[in-house]
Point group: C2
Chain length 201, copies 2
């Protein structure tokens, strides 16, 4: 009787890959990004360093893949009755998503990919994935239908604005973005600028 399951059989392909990504994500959650080592990931996944290095050339690439593998997708937001409450619900959902990611991970990835434009772009794409998720769009459409605003055609900058402010808040303070901060962002910045902008004559 072996004291520990000696790796029932030798894994390959998808199965092995998922095991490594799961191990990497578990390591990030447990020890944080700066203390994550390839050796620890290999040990946790019950494999060896070369197997990992064959697939991901750097720690950053591995962890980015692990993050994409582990984070859930975006569900639709229910209609909460007003633009303001829709926005609150949206940003609270963003905040909850941030909570799934250790606070040192995003800045860590930015730092380590800084001198490699390709990986830096990959990190940036992940960070700004809100844009691709088109998560703001339905909120604006409902607001137009209610007559609260006049158009969904806002500039890219404006569409980014709430998310940029959330990301900034999260990175700077390194803790969950509070409901109070969300309310500030919406009431003092987002709603005023949405109200002011599409006023054509």
């Amino acid at each position: 009787m072996p004291t520990e399951a000696p790796t029932a059989s030798r894994r390959r392909g998808e199965l092995l890959e998922r095991a490594i990504l799961d191990a990497a994500w578990a390591e990030v959650l447990e020890v944080g990004y700066p203390k994550l080592t390839m050796e620890a990931v290999a040990a946790r996944a019950q494999t060896s360093k070369p197997v990992i290095y064959r697939r991901w050339r750097t720690r950053a690439a591995l962890v980015l893949a692990a993050m994409q593998h582990s984070l859930p997708g975006w569900d639709d937001l229910p209609d909460t009755g007003s633009l303001r409450s829709d926005l609150i619900a949206l940003l609270q959902r963003v905040a909850h998503r941030f909570d799934l990611v250790p606070g040192d991970l995003i800045p860590g990835l930015i730092t380590e990919t800084f001198s490699d434009p390709e990986s830096a772009a990959a990190v940036r794409a992940q960070i700004t994935s809100f844009a691709r998720a088109r998560i703001l769009r339905p909120v604006l459409q409902r607001a137009v239908a209610r007559g609260e605003i006049t158009t969904t055609e806002i500039s890219p900058r404006l569409a980014r604005l709430p998310f940029d402010l959330m990301r900034n808040e999260s990175m700077i303070y390194g803790m969950p973005v509070s409901d109070a901060a969300i309310a500030e962002i919406i009431d003092e910045v987002v709603l005023p600028v949405l109200a002011a902008t599409p006023r054509e004559s």
Copy 2:
């Protein structure tokens, strides 16, 4: 005749401290934050590791001190004639200040101080030093005098807004913030929200 000046004499106190901070800053500029090693700093400063560790317990503390030691202060902004051009000038100055700091440094410091609240707060204080510098205040005062806005009494959130957006831009893209981005920030966000906000009755 010695091939290299063998450290003319043994330095102490202020002089030594400045030499170390200068060496640390030079290293950051040369190799970037992730590749900066205490040994390299010691070598460049012509001293030894224990001397550094006696003063700063971590790499992050050393580099933060080096940054504070090396960055210039804030000069007053000349009156450029309008709120918009004043804001443009202000954010361009912020952008130039960002250019003095390698793009991987701030996220690197955030990452490494993440699990030590005290150092994290020190980093945060440095990052948000715009607030303490009260650099926005005179711009608003002049705008009030011109009749462009009605009050300088804006909320802390609004006072942070331009800087938060600049910082976000800089961290995400890891390159100098373009004049186009500055113009977007001002024309699509800051000015509209300033115009919309202090409208009482």
